[in-house]
């Protein structure tokens, strides 16, 4: 799968989940890997690109989650 497509899938998964269930990094790796038959390592690399670009961020509430950054405070 193309990297950009994979990034889109990951982003949409996080977007859909916002406000319902906080996703951990491993939730995303497991789900995307299982549903799209992509190696976990590849999902991880794509997720990292989204993080490095600031499209997704890690948050912390008694545990670390992946979320979409809030609009300006």
């Amino acid at each position: 799968m193309e990297r950009e497509e994979l990034k889109k899938i990951i982003y949409e998964l996080v977007e859909k989940s916002m406000g319902k269930k906080k996703l951990k990094q491993s939730d995303i790796l497991k789900k995307v890997s299982a549903e799209h038959g992509v190696d976990k390592g590849e999902v991880k690399a794509a997720l990292r690109e989204l993080m490095d670009a600031g499209k997704l961020i890690f948050t912390y509430f008694g545990g670390s989650y992946v979320e979409i950054p809030p609009k300006e405070e």
Binding site: K21, K22, F61, G62, G63
Partner: protein
């Protein structure tokens, strides 16, 4: 703003080798023995015949950059520009020649540094952030440590004990400072359940993870309010729900306080490592000097000093004399809270007819 340098990621910490004093680097892995020469002063001897003298001083852990620069000045002047910190927040100055020790100690004393903490005495207190920086603190940590060590400083600087006595302070039961295996430790505790801010909770917290956070299943969903509810009789005030959900504050100034636990150790010397056990379930927060807490620690320490044998840690002493005698010697009241009803309860009940009157 001036342009920033290029950031780097995942480079890890710098290699320790560049920070080793030359005598340490040269004799790395080749030390043969060491001797304690005083309460805050020891020498290590290497196979090569080289020696390194270490002088240890206390720090409050919370250090200003001004103080760090001052200790750097001292290390530049006496120690070729190297120093280290211990796991208990002491500062160690190392020199490679005996003649350098005296001037170093003289300057440290002149500048008001407290030399000590090596060997069978009280070393620095491992502690957490408390009100200085923590959102879940049930008490302060630095304040208690300061009050305690002002009282006990002679056991850092001069007086001998039967063995090391390790003190620790944790400002809540998260115990960032691993208080659960210390000779005498103080831990911040709550006595009342969290309050639920339903309006905020709805937006801020995830119900399933909040419910799951409770170790005693006291929290359940409240679908009507789109929030949660608490079975008060089940709550044991651990505050874990507050860690997961900020809308369940548990701090209660009137009822927050500290418990004192004793007899833990991590060393395997002689006896197995031991958990600390409850000596006093609750004492009030009484800043700035927590007199009730300082008195209680003093009382436990005095009983240990009066009754323990040489090399015996607090936990080993209590194990030898029995907990029933510990309460007698320390004159501490044995209360309902001392009897365990949690995870390890069964293991702690006396299944024998032998005990001391």
């Amino acid at each position: 703003m001036a342009e920033l340098p290029q950031r780097q990621t995942d480079i890890g910490p710098p290699h320790y080798e560049q920070f080793l004093p030359p005598v340490i680097k040269k004799n790395y892995g080749k030390w043969i023995y060491h001797e304690e020469l005083g309460p805050g002063y020891m020498v290590h001897v290497a196979e090569s015949g080289d020696r390194v003298w270490t002088v240890r001083v206390a720090s409050p852990r919370l250090l200003s950059t001004d103080t760090i620069k001052e200790i750097c000045d001292i290390a530049d002047k006496h120690c070729d520009g190297y120093l280290r910190f211990t796991t208990r927040n002491n500062i160690e100055f190392m020199v490679d020649d005996e003649s350098k020790v005296e001037p170093l100690m003289k300057e440290l004393k002149e500048k008001g540094y407290m030399i000590g903490g090596i060997g069978s005495r009280i070393s620095n207190v491992v502690h957490t952030q408390g009100w200085v920086h923590c959102h879940s603190a049930a008490t302060d940590a630095s304040g208690i440590v300061k009050a305690l060590m002002d009282e006990l400083h002679e056991y850092f600087t001069s007086k001998d004990l039967q063995a090391r006595v390790r003190l620790a302070v944790a400002c809540c039961v998260n115990m960032c400072g691993a208080v659960h295996c210390s000779d005498i430790a103080i831990v911040g505790v709550h006595k009342t359940p969290p309050r639920i801010e339903h309006e905020r909770l709805r937006n801020l917290c995830e119900i399933p993870s909040t419910v799951a956070s409770c170790p005693t299943s006291a929290i359940s969903p409240d679908p009507q309010k789109k929030s949660v509810k608490i079975k008060l009789e089940k709550c044991m005030y651990c505050g874990n729900c507050y860690s997961v959900c900020p809308s369940m504050p548990i701090a209660d100034p009137k009822n927050d306080g500290v418990a004192i636990v004793v007899g833990g150790k991590v060393s395997n010397m002689r006896s197995h490592p031991m958990f600390s056990k409850l000596a006093i379930p609750w004492l009030p927060n009484n800043p700035p000097r927590w007199p009730e807490v300082v008195d209680a620690v003093r009382k436990i320490l005095d009983a240990y000093i009066a009754d323990a044998r040489k090399h015996e840690r607090v936990g080993e002493w209590i194990e030898r004399i029995g907990w029933e005698k510990f309460f007698k010697l320390t004159n501490l009241e044995f209360k309902l809270q001392h009897v365990d009803d949690f995870t390890f309860a069964r293991e702690t009940w006396r299944m024998a007819a032998t005990f001391k009157w």
